[in-house]
Point group: C2
Chain length 307, copies 2
């Protein structure tokens, strides 16, 4: 059998993962966890795929707002739409993650969830990252793809718990990560059940239902998953509550934090990224028992090989 | 191989199920559905287990309100608590499903989700049905247990979508139905993330978050499952939107409705059961393309054999 996790370099982070998985899967071991309880939760933006210079969904919202502005030119003079239309990153960054995503969700409303799925898939298929030049779904982290596979091969059920929109992530997560729609927890808008010619459809409304960030991630784990994860992986303070919740129970548990410290192969950033800062989780990782993963040191590859 | 569905009598309902499953699973067939899209949703109360004389969770809430009334005797004079304490079914029935469940959810608050799980499991283990004398988890429908197994053996993923409380159903659904917590969608209360001695816990609040009935079932399918089911099974008007939504898309689809018409082996009821009436779904089943399942005629057994 080939060694698991080939894109993970030997070191503390890889060892922590392999030792944890061995401990919870050895039948009869003191740390054994039955398969149904092997729940692993992953943040998406910055944990499974690149979130620089802005989260992918922000770029998607920009594209959609451009379409809406063609229909209603007054949007061009109104903030925060203007910032999106002019790609004014400085202003966009000041909106904060929730502000940006709220604009995004408004831009995503007025369609059925099935139409939204088609729009998302089409945009992801045709759009390339402004710097890296590859499709966004190719800017996923190769070590994390291997980790998801490794966990599932060891009886884990893998979930995404993201501040991004659940319906947007569902449009690609099954094909890209092997995570089916029902295992994607994310931010959501309210929906309306609408009948047209005797057919029922769910229409997305421009009303934020849940902004799945910080403590809301834990509340949504309770709502959607209904049991406490034993492994959590994040990359920002928005994931800290989820990581701490995962660690806050008896038995063997693992929380991991990606630290983006590689300006050669990706983008180095942490506390100054205003759309999703990493401060407390990094400063207190040791206190909380969180394992920090360095992109520069722990990952032999960052992105999958070019086709 | 033994015949599937031994507790289903030959007839239109059983034929409809077997023909449907064959059609969507034959590789290369015109109606083939890939396994990840084989989503089946089941109501719980009255569809998977007995909901007479009141939904099981109402009985659980009564027991809990009795405990609360010991601590606060003024509850004994206040409605709707008094009706629960005096087992005044006539008054309880007038509250409607949402009214009753709201009282129930209030009675379930003030504990962590893990404590609630333990309370639910303990009560289900020690309590017996007032007429049938068996544990509630033994008053599940044997034909439905076989159907859940049959669907899963054919690559379906089975979900519960119930007006009952998600956390209550999660306490027994995995063991009783083979449905894990993350595949249980139900009514929910808001939760609060609480830190005690450095440990994070989710506390259940006395605030209704979602009453998972009628059109809300469809909205919650969108929220939790993220794709349209191809099979839906219910027993009341509360399930009609979910059944119609399931049928409202191209491709082969199946919606089934239990009609409780057997006063010998269970309880015969439909339009006059005020806690969860069956009127429109029965009257318009043919128009909507819903297959009616008669307990008296289609089920050879109702409950599992006595141990």
């Amino acid at each position: 059998m080939p060694q698991p996790l080939p894109s993970w370099r030997s070191g503390k982070a890889r060892d922590a993962i392999v030792e944890f998985v061995n401990a919870v899967t050895v039948q009869g071991g003191v740390d054994f966890v039955p398969p149904p309880e092997r729940i692993a939760v992953f943040d998406n933006d910055g944990t499974l795929w690149c979130e620089q210079p802005v989260q992918v969904q922000v770029a998607f919202a920009q594209a959609r707002i451009r379409q809406l502005a063609d229909a209603d030119p007054t949007l061009k003079d109104r903030q925060p739409f203007r910032a999106f239309l002019e790609h004014d990153l400085a202003t966009i960054h000041t909106l904060g993650k929730e502000g940006v995503f709220e604009v995004a969700f408004a831009a995503h409303s007025g369609v059925t969830i099935e139409t939204f799925d088609k729009l998302s898939k089409a945009w992801l298929a045709e759009t390339r990252h402004p710097q890296f030049g590859r499709r966004y779904t190719e800017l996923v982290y190769q070590p994390q793809l291997e980790l998801l596979d490794y966990l599932r091969a060891n009886g884990f059920k893998t979930f995404i718990v993201s501040g991004g929109g659940a319906d947007f992530i569902r449009a690609f997560a099954e094909q890209t990560y092997g995570v089916p729609p029902e295992q994607v927890v994310g931010s959501t808008v309210n929906t309306k059940l609408q009948e047209t010619d005797g057919h029922l459809e769910l229409m997305k409304l421009a009303e934020l239902q849940s902004f799945d960030d910080r403590e809301v991630k834990v509340q949504n784990i309770g709502l959607h998953i209904g049991r406490r994860p034993i492994l959590a992986f994040g990359n920002s303070d928005g994931d800290l509550a989820m990581m701490r919740y995962t660690l806050s129970a008896p038995g063997r548990r693992l929380a991991l934090l990606v630290h983006h410290d590689d300006n050669e192969r990706e983008v180095a950033y942490d506390r100054d990224f205003r759309l999703s800062p990493l401060v407390e989780a990094l400063d207190k990782a040791d206190d909380y028992g969180i394992t920090v993963v360095s992109v520069a040191k722990d990952w032999a590859e960052v992105f999958p090989p070019q086709a």
